[in-house]
Every structure is written in C-alpha cells, then in structure tokens.
Subunit: 248 residues, 2 copies
C-alpha cells in the first residue's frame, strides 16, 4: 500500500442538525468512521452511529485504551501516553480495514479535543484533514441569546482544572470546559456575585439551561446536571461566568 492515508477529523456539532455541507462532503470522501468505544453501551457512540448512518458510513468501534487521568504528578505525560495508545489502536484497525477513515468529533475539533493530535500520531505519512464544527461555547451563547463577552472585551476559555488560576489572575469573563460539576465555590472558586450562563447536553432533547447570579443558582445547576445525566444517560456541560459590573 503506497497510497498515503488521509484521516478526516470532522466536527459534527451536537448532531445531524449541525453537520455542515463541508462536513458532509468530507464524509462522502471517507470510507468509514472510526470511533472510540468507552463501554458497551456508550451513548456518544450511538449518536455517532446515527450521524454516520445518515451519511451512508459504517462505524468501526475501537475499544478505548484505559487512561490514568488522575495522575497529578505528570498530567501531560499521562495524556501523551494515552494519545499514543489510542493512535496505535486506531492505526491497527485502519491498516486491517484499508481506505480513508473519518473521525466524528463532538462539537468542534479546535477546543479541548484530542482527535487531531491522536490522528497525527497514527503514522508518519498520515495526512490529517480537519473540518470545523459548531462548538459547545458558541451553542451555549446561541441558546442563551448572548454574545460571549461585553462589547470589545476578551473572553478567556479554559478548563475547570485551571479556572482558579484564571480568576486569581484577573480574568472576569471565562468560558469553562471539561467540567465535572457546577462552577466551584470557595477560595479557589467563582464568587457568588458573578453571573453564570450554564448549559448541558446542548442541542439534544435533554438540553438544560440555567442563568442567574451564581450564589442563587449553584445548587440548581448541580441538580439539573444530575437530572440530565439520569435522563440522557450522559451529561456534557459548559458555562460562562462573568464578574458583575464589567460592562464599561
């Protein structure tokens, strides 16, 4: 096989309603979809199967290598090892199958998603083609009918893990991803008088939105998060927090 492999990393937003004509064209040029399978009844795998089927593609599910996510001593090293293990598992499947695979990325591949990095590790001759999709922060903004910042001001996008350092560093308008609960309280957390716009399972039938003063809605967000998880079988959420009086 001297033909080089093209791996297409395709952002599909939150489902079929967000698959752009550009994404559809990229899928039409692909032979099949490769997807990580995290458990036997992985709900995000089911959603990928739905999109793939709508575009006439079969899904090859690859059991996900286990990840030592919580090694606090060497987080980047743990992530690198896990990326390499995923890439090796994918490369093996693709070599056996033949043809150019596509990966369906939930949301957009440019934010807190490892698919591009993993695809590049699949082999030295791999050509990676990326198609942008509608991401969770912009969908949150659309659903809430807001712009992500005050006029002409910055928006800082970060993870729950680094939210504390953003706030102590002076950020006053922060989008948070890779969340594990509502905006944290306490010394390292988000002050009660900040505003929050929170959304879970955006764009799905289980979508939930909460907006208000953080001190007033923190418990409601925690409860909604569990309600959505129970109803949908999974929960992915994101939020924007903004200090009071930042509008100039």
């Amino acid at each position: 096989m001297s033909r080089p492999l093209t791996v297409r990393v395709v952002g599909v937003g939150m489902g079929s309603q967000h698959v752009t004509p550009e994404a559809a064209a990229a899928l039409a040029r692909s032979a099949y979809v490769v997807a990580a399978e995290k458990s036997a009844d992985d709900p995000l795998l089911a959603l990928r199967r739905e999109i793939a089927a709508a575009h006439g593609l079969e899904v090859v599910a690859v059991p996900d290598p286990t990840r030592d996510r919580d090694d606090p001593a060497d987080y980047p090293g743990a992530v690198r090892d896990w990326h390499a293990a995923r890439a090796a598992a994918y490369a093996e499947v693709v070599a056996a199958r033949g043809g150019d695979p596509a990966f369906l990325v939930w949301g957009d591949p440019s934010l807190y998603d490892s698919t591009i990095r993993v695809a590049r590790l699949m082999g030295p001759d791999v050509r990676v083609e990326v198609v942008a999709g509608v991401g969770a922060p912009q969908l949150l903004a659309a659903r809430c009918g807001i712009v992500l910042h005050d006029v002409g001001r910055p928006v800082h996008v970060t993870t729950e893990r680094r939210l504390g350092e953003a706030i102590t560093g002076g950020q006053t308008n922060v989008v948070v991803m890779l969340t594990s609960g509502p905006p944290p309280a306490g010394a390292d957390g988000v002050p009660d008088d900040w505003c929050v716009w929170w959304g879970a399972d955006l764009g799905t039938e289980h979508e939930s939105l909460v907006h208000g003063r953080l001190g007033d809605v923190r418990e409601r967000i925690a409860a909604e998060r569990e309600r959505v998880r129970a109803a949908a079988g999974w929960v992915m959420d994101t939020y924007l927090v903004r200090a009071p009086g930042t509008t100039p």
Copy 2:
C-alpha cells in the same frame, strides 16, 4: 399587528458550505433577509445575497448608519449610539415590510458581532432566536490542522485593540479578532519569538494562511493581507499567537 416579531440571527460561517441544517431550517421559517449595506458595491452584501438566494429569500439592504469608530474618548458610548441607529433603521424597514426577518451573520454571532445586541434594540416585543455558525477562530484552527491551545491550557480570545494588555497581563496563547494588520511589533506588541498562525478570507477562494515564527513572517503577513484585499475586494483576518515553550 399584535403578532410579536421574531428576529432570527443566523450564523452562516464563511458561506454556503457552512450553513448547517439548523441554520437552513431557521431561514425556512423566515420571510426575508435584512442586511446592512456599507457601500454600493459591498462585497459581503453580495455574499449574503448568494446565501439568501440559495434558501429562496430576498435580501432587503439597509444603508448602514455612519459610525464614529475612532472616538477614543468614549468607545463604548460610540458603539451604543451606532447600535441604536442601526436598530432604528432595521425596525423601520421591518415595520414597512412585515413578516419575520433573518440576519445572516458572517462566522458566528457569539464573538465580536453586534447583531444580537442590535436585534434586541429593534423593539420591546422582539423575540430574538440565535443559530450558531462556524466562526473564524475555529476555521483558522481547522485549516492549520491545529487545536487552539496546548493540552489542557487556556485560550484567550481578544481584539487587536486589547492585545497589548493581554500580553502584558501574562497571556501566552491568544486568538486575535477585529484586526487591522499583522500582529503588532514593538513594546506593546507580540514578541518576535512567538509563533503565529494567521488566516485571511478563510473558506473563500482567496483564503491565505501563514504560519511561522512571528519575526520571520510578519512582513509576509502584511503583504499577503494586501494581496488578498486586492484580489477579493475585502479582507477579514484572524490569528493565533503563542509564546515559545508553553507546552508543559
């Protein structure tokens, strides 16, 4: 007319190839498209006409109120006045015409776009419905085949006007919008040893990408910017700058 007005603010990415099924459905529920006309041969108006026509909608062009953009004494005030003037011009056109209008937003309405704010000013009973689209930063990332940040790190999104304060404030990974030239040099600018990923007229036939060490490519970006402007008749660019050695 007791029927309340619904104004749809629809992100269309960089053109037809980015119009999602959700956006198409929002356009199908709209009666016509309203668009600002900045000059008689406004090229972005022509692109809007193309998308509207593809969805069977007429474009009502509204001459754009002049904007005192460079009043340094009261920038937010100047923006507010200009938003109010735009909203009044739109409301007049919509009252005369009847039916629910749609606005086509280039890129995504959630970042550095005034359409949502202007739509809310069109009247007290206006219902604003927003549809997310593919934005310039994520399209830049896709075209360059990159994620917008190092593993687990933040991305700071701001304007050229506030880029200096972001860098002096310690940001090391910054997406810049509302640009008027290449990343600025000098004391308030971006250091020469930072990396830049720059893109202009992304997703169009005139798309141009430059990536490299800023000190090596700054002049090339300036030249490309003018080349694209001459070829396309307009230029809209965005870039990501990143300090060296930020990968942990």
